[in-house]
Symmetry: C2
């Protein structure tokens, strides 16, 4: 039975999980900054937008101060994963850990620090953090969960049911890799293009009328990614080009997190997203010159600050 | 004899020509804005930096108010070329016109408006305009001139000599196309990369140590451009990669004009620079996927404003 959940990393995604799950479970939050934990302890966590919730949560920046939990949701940014995983090492032996980061390889980073059963997840929901204690729920799209290295599927289904009960959308898949790769290709394409052009994920990403239209480049990037997936033996869950077209037809254009990072002059997740795709291309001997080009451009943009 | 020069378009390059040539010839300036002409008439033109000059020039925004001239130097930005050429139509029958724009095709645009002898030029000098009447001369690199459609080479040499006498660096070449293509490939590469990354033309453009280093992309872009030149039957005057490496070793990093345009959210010259290269690639059936990608990214960046 999953009755106690700890969210590790309370950015947008972590806060959305914490705020919702607190309606159906005991929720604690492990934060990086002490002030963040203090604010959550004092004020709780408010969710606005698609949900309207006020959640009571326990919070600490010290893993030793956390009560035991059944499920740990690792929802840091790529740059915070190593630190978060090492803070869990040697603790919470009865917990199951669920990773819900962009890119590939988060499960391996957690496994390197302990023998917990692991559940893989990718999420398509999005939001905006207005403060340490308030998050706006914007896109109420699904989170997909799957077993990692022999975790029983029943356990994945139980966690999925809890997330659905909390008011979020979720689906359990026997094999998450096809979905992770669909999201990886989608993310590598949309995030890097948004970061370089300054465009939100809007209709330009699907436009293929004029030869200079951006949609041609987006299509070529998706095709490159699909060739890498095929070489890696992965059959995609969703076609990233269709994901792109559908997303750009939504009412309001999504603000890709890498564009937010670039505008704030923060280090981006490019190494874990596009970098993961380019490394897979190398490993399988498939060319990925356009993703390689965008990878170098975003790294150079970071170097310009 | 070239005794009267008219500079058409007084941006950085036009102002550098006007300020220097006024030391050895009668110089008039045709401006787009009337206030610009009024300021030049009232205050003259000041050149600082590598030169220290105060020039007396005549100026007008009305072509009918200009005195006849022997040499017209068309130095507009790409976006102002059509308007400038049409303002010359039916006038100044005894003049020779010299074009000194980025990209390819400026000569054809002038030829479409009149039968003047035409001299082609590319310039590598650079500067910064501080006001309508003050320009700072920064890179004192050469301007190369060549005949266009049967203009006698002696005439090219005479104009070159006048430019040298005025204090600028210039060289007459029997065939300018190899130099124009060298600059086109260099410009398409450096300007687009700078516009997308926010980097000045600094050491990152030549770095090829780590796999994610920007120099790899710059090298690939140059190689793509060289393949297009080869398909077009052009033997390059200079290797654009060597031009890139040399330029990044200079003391202070050059501020590419397309980066200035992007920062000011002005329309860039991408259509005439990268666009020209991509159109040549199409015409000769050579692939140029990386230049095509950068072309679409810069157009998308313009669309984000």
């Amino acid at each position: 039975m999953v009755e106690r959940v700890c969210v590790i990393g309370a950015g947008v995604i972590g806060s959305l999980f914490a705020g919702h799950l607190a309606q159906v479970a005991e929720v604690s939050v492990l934060t990086r900054r002490r002030e963040h934990a203090d604010a959550l302890e004092a004020d709780g966590l408010r969710v606005t937008g698609r949900s309207d919730l006020q959640a009571h949560v326990r919070a600490s920046s010290d893993p030793d101060a956390l009560a035991p939990f059944d499920l740990g949701i690792v929802a840091t940014k790529a740059g915070g994963l190593a630190e978060a995983a090492s803070s869990l090492e040697g603790r919470f032996p009865d917990a199951t850990m669920m990773t819900v980061l962009n890119g590939l390889g988060a499960e391996e980073a957690v496994r390197a620090r302990g023998a917990w059963p692991i559940v893989s997840a990718v999420t398509f929901m999005s939001g905006t953090k207005h403060s340490d204690t308030e998050v706006e729920y914007i896109l109420d799209t699904e989170t997909w969960l799957g077993p990692y290295e022999g975790t029983p599927f029943e356990q994945v289904e139980e966690i999925t049911a809890l997330i659905v009960e909390s008011g979020l959308k979720a689906e359990a898949l026997p094999d998450l890799l096809p979905a992770q790769w669909s999201k990886l290709i989608f993310n590598a394409t949309v995030n890097a293009v948004a970061a370089l052009t300054g465009l939100r994920h809007d209709r330009h990403f699907a436009a293929e009328e004029l030869p200079t239209d951006l949609g041609h480049l987006v299509h070529d990037l998706v095709d490159e990614g699909k060739a890498v997936a095929a070489a890696a033996g992965v059959e995609l869950h969703d076609d990233p080009w269709e994901m792109n077209v559908l997303a750009t037809r939504r009412g309001s254009a999504h603000y890709p997190s890498m564009l937010e990072d670039v505008e704030a002059r923060r280090e981006t997740e490019i190494d874990l997203i596009t970098g993961a795709l380019v490394r897979e291309a190398d490993r399988h001997g498939v060319p990925a010159p356009l993703h390689q080009a965008l990878y170098r451009l975003v790294k150079a943009k970071e170097a310009s600050w």
